[in-house]
């Protein structure tokens, strides 16, 4: 085993356990950063996230602790109970964190302003070419709070005249990677997935695109955003924002699959809010 692999395992374990124990001392001015679990499943290792940690440390002058909760809702609760200072949300989780705990939007990738969901079909279970043909099929959503893995796919299905509640057998897999596996292994006929996760899995050769073929791409929507908790010190908020906006380290941008960062605006999430309300997801 190489040294880097050993180091990865050590840091992964340290961070995976989000808490406790006399193993490391508490730092009062630590910046605690949380991801929704999605991102963890694709950007793979915690050690690979070092460019992000470095950027935030440089920008804020604080030590940074990464936390990856086990599910989307936990990230929302964490920003409510001061468990974390800065969190990476999907659109739906952001809207919830904002409504419930006053989380404030900060920055997002240029790409997040025109994001897409992909509908993928299992090669094992016959041909599928349109949303209408989903009637009677088994279908995998990601986490119930996923924007690209649940909210938008449901919206698009309803617009296509397919009711996922009554006309499909649907399941939640918990994350995009699990959806990809469920589809490619034929456990379900089809599924909905975050476009960047799908591309990453294919590029990493974790997923054979022939076994989970894209048959429909959603209309663009606004998605991921970095947000801070309501009462985080404003000078700290400013330095985090500048850190992102001025970031040009290629390693950092590649890690987060970004070209550059732009300021996020709460009002632009109104469309997500309305959709979520209509679908009883808010």
């Amino acid at each position: 085993m190489s040294l880097s692999r050993a180091l990865f395992i050590r840091s992964a374990a340290g961070i995976a356990a989000t808490a406790a124990l006399p193993l490391s001392a508490s730092a009062a001015d630590e910046l605690r950063v949380a991801f929704i679990p999605d991102v963890a499943t694709t950007a793979a290792s915690y050690a690979e996230k070092q460019p992000l940690v470095d950027m935030l440390q440089r920008a804020t002058g604080r030590s940074v602790r990464l936390i990856i909760p086990t599910n989307y809702a936990a990230t929302v609760e964490a920003i409510g109970n001061e468990g974390v200072d800065l969190a990476y949300f999907g659109a739906l989780t952001y809207v919830k964190a904002n409504q419930r705990y006053g989380a404030r939007p900060l920055v997002q990738r240029l790409e997040d302003r025109r994001f897409h969901s992909l509908f993928i079909a299992s090669a094992a279970n016959g041909a599928l070419d349109s949303l209408k043909e989903l009637k009677g099929k088994t279908f995998a959503f990601g986490d119930v709070n996923s924007t690209s893995g649940h909210l938008i796919p449901v919206k698009e299905m309803l617009e296509a005249g397919v009711n996922p509640d009554t006309e499909l057998k649907t399941r939640f897999t918990g994350n995009h990677t699990a959806t990809a596996i469920a589809v490619s292994s034929g456990q379900v006929d089809a599924g909905a997935i975050d476009e960047t996760v799908y591309r990453k899995l294919v590029a990493d050769k974790t997923l054979d695109p022939a076994k989970a073929r894209v048959f429909y791409t959603s209309k663009p929507f606004i998605d991921y955003v970095w947000a801070v908790r309501k009462d985080l010190d404003s000078s700290l908020v400013t330095s985090i924002r500048h850190g992102f906006l001025e970031a040009n380290d290629p390693k950092f941008l590649a890690l987060l699959r970004a070209t550059r960062y732009v300021t996020a605006n709460d009002r632009e999430y109104d469309v997500i809010r309305e959709t979520a309300k209509k679908l009883d997801l808010l």
């Binding site: 085993m1 995976a16 356990a17 406790a20 124990l21 468990g83």
Partner: protein, 475 residues
């Protein structure tokens, strides 16, 4: 050679944090469970109005799925070991209150009453007259609770309370099945260690050793919590208003037509999982119990003869049982999901495996406790060993086996309300989805349904027990 050493060290390294955290959670929860549960048990055993109230309270807390307790504490206290410890401590206290009260009630009271009559104080009479007789039971069930807490630590880990549970979910999300396997193995090792330690304490250790073990475990828990990176005092100070806000948002519970429809279907699914899990587990347990009990191996029914070649199946059966009951059903469900897909099938499979492990052991004990004289007489009069066991042993053990089966059924109903959090169907899945969506009022509605279901099933088994005069404890 060197590479192997590095491998082993790296493996131990990445297991260290979650394992220590799980130990910390369980060790911290045990003193909470005992210190809250034991006085409650004494009050319950004494009877009176306070006893009745506490008994109802304990039954109520036990009916709340551990997952729900964990959610509330995580919301209140943030991530980390502290919320997990408190959630498990509270549910452990309710278990201790029930089990200890049953033990104290089942012990003969004459010695205590005699002491009272001679003018001894109530406390002294209790300590000298009652506790020694109840001692093996108290130790046994204390250790059993510790073991259950350790297994349940996985459940609270799933919602972010740290330890092996969080590590398992994270490793699965990362598709790191190797790490997942190591975490499961580590947990099995922990549970087996607690199991064997409690066996020793129960069988031959003096009382001071059991007390010392308890003190050491408590100390470990307290030190671990006090020095955790999480700031427990700040968390405790800010927790009450958060819990109140959280609960206030959930009232009134949303019993909408949709919720009622979902709940009705989920109750059926939960009961289905519990029934299939219990029955399949019990059926699988029977041959294993016969193997382990030595019906085959040792020939303890005199005259059936000792068969050295059959020691091997007995040993294999024993190992199978230990592993089957050490892995928490939720971990089995996570593995089963990969094979049978999402849904109640995975839940039923997980419960069946765990039930087979637990019932196999208890059935074997029931068989061994029985009187062997009738069987020996049968063998002496020319019947075959197998027939002698069937006619001479099984009927005598039947009552104890049925009692264990009923107890397991209750436990499985509880467990199946929880398994849904990993996608294994039933009420647990509705509870988890409502919590995930942050639909607090629907969450409360499903939790109420789950509590009613558990209390209702307990009530039915209670009636069955009374009707057929079945007791879990031998007396």
């Amino acid at each position: 050679m060197l590479a192997t050493a590095v491998d082993v060290r790296a493996t131990l390294d990445f297991l260290r944090t979650p394992v220590l955290e799980t130990i910390a959670i369980a060790a911290g929860a045990l003193p909470i469970a005992i210190l809250l549960g034991a006085p409650a048990a004494i009050t319950i055993a004494r009877g009176g109005r306070a006893g009745v109230v506490l008994r109802a309270l304990a039954a109520f807390v036990r009916a709340i799925p551990e997952l729900v307790l964990a959610i509330v504490f995580v919301v209140a206290l943030g991530f980390g070991a502290v919320p997990g410890t408190l959630a498990l401590g509270l549910s452990g206290a309710a278990t201790i209150a029930k089990l200890y009260a049953e033990i104290l009630e089942s012990v003969r009271r004459e010695p205590e009453e005699a002491l009272r009559a001679t003018g001894a104080t109530a406390t002294a009479s209790f300590l000298v007259g009652l506790v020694p007789a109840a001692w093996p039971g108290l130790i046994g069930f204390g250790a059993y609770t510790f073991e259950s807490i350790m297994r349940a630590a996985v459940i609270v880990g799933v919602v972010g309370a740290g330890g092996l549970g969080s590590a398992m979910i994270t490793s699965l999300n990362l598709l790191d099945y190797g790490a997942f396997g190591w975490y499961v193995a580590a947990l099995v090792a922990l549970v087996i260690a607690v199991d064997s330690a409690s066996g020793i304490l129960r069988a031959r250790a003096p009382a001071w050793m059991a007390l010392a073990a308890f003190a050491i475990v408590s100390l470990v828990g307290i030190v671990a919590l006090a020095t955790s990176t999480h700031d427990p005092w700040h968390a405790f100070a800010t927790a009450p208003p958060r819990v109140i806000t959280y609960l206030a948002r959930a009232i009134p519970p949303a019993f909408t037509p949709t919720v009622i429809g979902n709940a009705a279907w989920s109750v059926l699914e939960t009961l289905g999982v519990a029934i299939v899990g219990t029955l399949v587990g019990a059926i699988a347990a029977i041959p294993l119990a016969f193997l382990v009990a030595g019906v085959v191996a040792s020939g303890w029914v005199r005259g059936t003869g000792y068969r050295p070649w059959s020691v091997v199946p007995a040993f294999v059966a024993r190992v199978v049982l230990v592993i089957a009951r050490s892995v928490p059903p939720i971990a089995v469900a996570l593995v089963a999901l990969a094979y049978v897909g999402l849904g109640p099938k995975a839940g039923a499979a997980a419960l069946a495996i765990h039930t087979a492990g637990v019932l196999g052991k208890l059935f074997a004990e029931s068989l061994e406790l029985g009187d062997t004289l009738p069987a020996e007489a049968l063998v002496a009069s020319g019947s075959s060993g197998l027939a002698a066991v069937a006619v001479g042993i099984v009927p005598g053990a039947f009552a104890a086996m049925s009692a264990h089966l009923l107890y397991r059924w209750e436990w499985n109903v509880r467990a199946s309300t929880t398994l849904g959090i990993v996608g294994a169907g039933g009420l647990g899945q509705q509870i988890f989805n409502a919590q995930q969506l942050l639909h607090d009022r629907e969450l409360l509605a499903y939790v109420i349904v789950a509590i009613v279901l558990v209390l209702g099933s307990d009530r039915i088994t209670q009636l069955a027990r009374r009707r057929f005069e079945l007791r879990t404890m031998e007396r």
